[in-house]
Amino acid sequence: MKTSPSQQFKIDSSPSCDIIASCDQQVLDIAFGGDWILDARLPPLEPILTRLDAGNTIKKVTFSTTALGNWDSMLVTELIKIIDYASQKGVTVDKASLPASIQGLLTLVSAVPERVDAHRDQTQTSWSQALVVSTGKAVQHGKEMLIFVGEMIISTFATLRGQAHFRRQDLWLYIQECGPSALPIVTLISLLVGLILAFVGAVQLSLFGAQIYIANLVSLGMTREMGGLMTAIIMSGRTGAAYAAQIGTMHVNSEIDALKTMNLDPMAFLVLPRMLALIIIMPLLCLYADLMGIIGGGFVTVNFFDVSLTEYMDRTASAVKMKDFIIGFVKCSVFGILIALSGCMRGMQCGRSASAVGDAGTSAVVTAIVFIVVADSVMTIICNRLGI
C-alpha cells in the first residue's frame, strides 16, 4: 500500500511524517517515513539541503521509501524542491528507488520546460506614469463616446429615411418594460420625496407661521426638479443597467455579429427602439411622479401642519404654472436620452466575458447618473438665466 497515493485522509490533525538523511561516502540517502499528506506537519527541509552544499562532497542523492505511508502532493512538492536544488548544485539524483507513480508524476512535471516569458511582469508604475495612462484612458473613453453618439445620429437619420429599421413590436415591448412596470417603484419614491420636501420646508416655514407655503415648495420642487431627477435616477438603475446587460449579453453570444452579417444595423435595431421607448415614457413617468410627490407633501401638510386640504390644493394650483411642467418634461426627456445612451453605449462596448457584462451594467448606471446630474445643473442654470 506504500506505493499508492493516499485515498483517505487521517482524521488526526497532524499526521506524523519524518525525513532522515544518511550519508554514505559521496551518496546522500534521504528516507521518507510516515504520512506525507496535505495536513501533515512537515519536518524542515533546510538541514538536508544544506548537506548538499557542504563542500560539495556529495555527488549523488538517493531516496528510500520503505517507511513511507500515505502520500500526496505534499511529498511531490518537497521532492521537486530537493531535486531542483540538487541539480542546481550539480548533484545527480537517482529516482529509481521512488515508487513508480511518483516517478511518473515527476516525469510529467519536467516534461514541458517552464516557459521563461510566461510569467506576468508585475512592475510597479510610478504615479506620474499612472497619471499619463489614466489620462490616455479618459481621452480614449471620450473618443469612444463621441463615436457612439455619431453612429447613433447616423442611424437615426438612416431610420428616418427608411434605410434602416427596427421591429415595432420591440418598441412596444421596451415601452412596456420601462413604463408600467416601473410604476410601483416610482410611486413609492416620489411619495416619499414629496413627504420629505414637505417636512424639510415645514420646519423653516412654520417659524414664520407660513406653513401654507409648503404647498408652493412641494409643488414647484417636484415639478421643476425632484420629480424628473428622481425618476431619472430610478430609471438609470432600473432600465439603463438592464439595457447594458441585455446588449452586453448579446455581444457575448455574438448576436450582434449575427445582426451585422444579416445586414441589420445594430444601432438602429437595438439602440433606437430602446432610446425611443425612454424618450416617450420618461415625461409620462415624470408627470406621474410630480403628482405622487404633491400627494405625499399634501399628506404631511394636512395632517401635521394645520393646513386644510382645500387650502393646500388651492395654493398648489396657483403656484404651479404650465411652464413648470414643461421644464420638467424637457428635462426628463433629456434624461431619458442620456440613460438610454449610457446604457446602450456600455452594452455595445462590452467585452466578451461574464464579468464584462457586470461591469457594463455598473458603468452604465454610473455614467447615466453623472450625465443626469451634470445635465440637470446646466439646464437649471439656463432656466435661471432666462428667467423661466
Binding site: Q246, M250, N253, S254, E255, T261, M262, N263
Partner: protein, 263 residues
C-alpha cells in the same frame, strides 16, 4: 467548372500590434466544401470574421469574384455580403425572439414580402433543418444541436450562394455532429452553394471537405492546402501531417484514418 468564388489575397490579420496570420493566399472555388483548419488559437475564426465583413484586415483583401470586399465602399460591401449566410459557433440566435422571428429577420429586412409568405418561407427553412413545428419556441427552450440547426435555417433564409460555418461540430455529441455534417453535405448538393467551414474536428474535415487550407500557428501563415485526404498522404509539412493524424506521425494511424472516412 473550377470558377473562383472567394480569393484571399495577401491577407494579414492583426489584433493591435499582434500579428495573428500574415500573407494568407488561397482560393475557394464555386461549389467547394472548403475547410479552414488549424490548431487552437491559430486564427481560424478571425479569418472567418475577415471574410464576412466583421473585421477589417491590416493588409490585403478578400475578393468575392473580382470585387475586393474591403476595397469596396460600405454599400457595395453590403451587397456582396447579402449573398452570404453565416452560422456562428453558438448559433447566435437572438434570444428574445422565437425561432420563426429569428429566421424571418433577414427576410423582412431584405424583402417586402407579405407576412404570410414570410411565415411560409420560415416554415420551409425550419423543415429543411429538421425543426418543423418549432416555429414558436424560444432558443433557450432548445438543445444546443437544435439551436445550431435553427441558426443554419436563419443563415439559409435568403438562399445565399455562400454559407459560412464557424465550428459547426463544437459542443455537439458525435451523433448530432455527424447529422449536422450530413445536413451540410446534402445542402451543398441541393442548393449548389459554396460552403466554407472553420473546424478542427478531424471527422468532419475528412467527411465533408473537398478542399482546404491549413493555418499554421508557428509560421503564422497558410502552409498547405488542398483536399484533406490528399493532404493526409502527400503533405510535406510535418505540422499538417501531425494535425491530420491527431498528433501521431505513424503510417499505421493514417491508414486507420483512411478506412474510417469515406473516400
Amino acid at each position: 467548372m473550377t470558377e473562383a468564388c472567394i480569393t484571399v489575397k495577401d491577407l494579414t490579420m492583426t489584433y493591435g500590434d499582434f500579428v495573428i496570420q500574415h500573407d494568407l493566399n488561397f482560393t475557394i472555388n464555386r461549389g467547394d466544401v472548403f475547410i479552414i483548419m488549424g490548431g487552437n488559437g491559430c486564427g481560424k475564426t478571425t479569418l472567418l470574421r475577415h471574410m464576412i465583413g466583421l473585421k477589417s484586415p491590416a493588409k490585403g483583401d478578400v475578393c468575392y469574384g473580382e470585387q475586393g470586399l474591403w476595397q469596396a465602399d460600405p454599400k457595395a460591401r453590403q451587397q456582396i455580403l447579402a449573398r452570404t449566410g453565416v452560422l456562428f459557433q453558438s448559433g447566435a440566435l437572438l434570444s428574445s425572439m422565437t425561432l420563426a422571428e429569428n429566421v424571418a429577420l433577414p427576410i423582412t429586412e431584405a424583402t417586402q414580402l407579405p407576412p404570410k409568405k414570410v411565415r411560409e418561407i420560415v416554415s420551409y427553412k425550419l423543415a429543411l433543418v429538421g425543426l418543423a413545428g418549432f416555429e414558436d419556441y424560444y432558443p433557450s427552450e432548445l438543445s444546443g444541436g437544435m439551436q445550431k440547426r435553427a441558426g443554419l435555417a436563419r443563415a439559409m433564409a435568403l438562399d445565399p450562394e455562400i454559407l459560412f460555418f464557424d465550428e459547426p461540430s463544437a459542443g455537439l455529441d458525435p451523433i448530432t455532429a455527424k447529422l449536422l455534417d450530413d445536413l451540410i453535405l446534402s445542402l451543398s448538393s441541393a442548393l449548389s452553394a459554396t460552403i466554407v467551414v472553420v473546424t478542427h474536428d478531424l471527422d468532419s474535415i475528412f467527411a465533408i471537405g473537398n478542399n482546404s487550407v491549413f493555418l499554421d500557428a508557428e509560421t503564422r501563415t497558410n502552409i498547405d492546402g488542398g483536399p484533406p485526404q490528399k493532404l493526409l498522404h502527400e503533405s510535406k509539412h510535418p505540422n499538417v501531417i501531425r494535425f491530420l493524424n491527431r498528433g501521431d506521425q505513424t503510417e499505421q494511424n493514417s491508414s486507420n484514418r483512411q478506412m474510417r472516412s469515406p473516400a
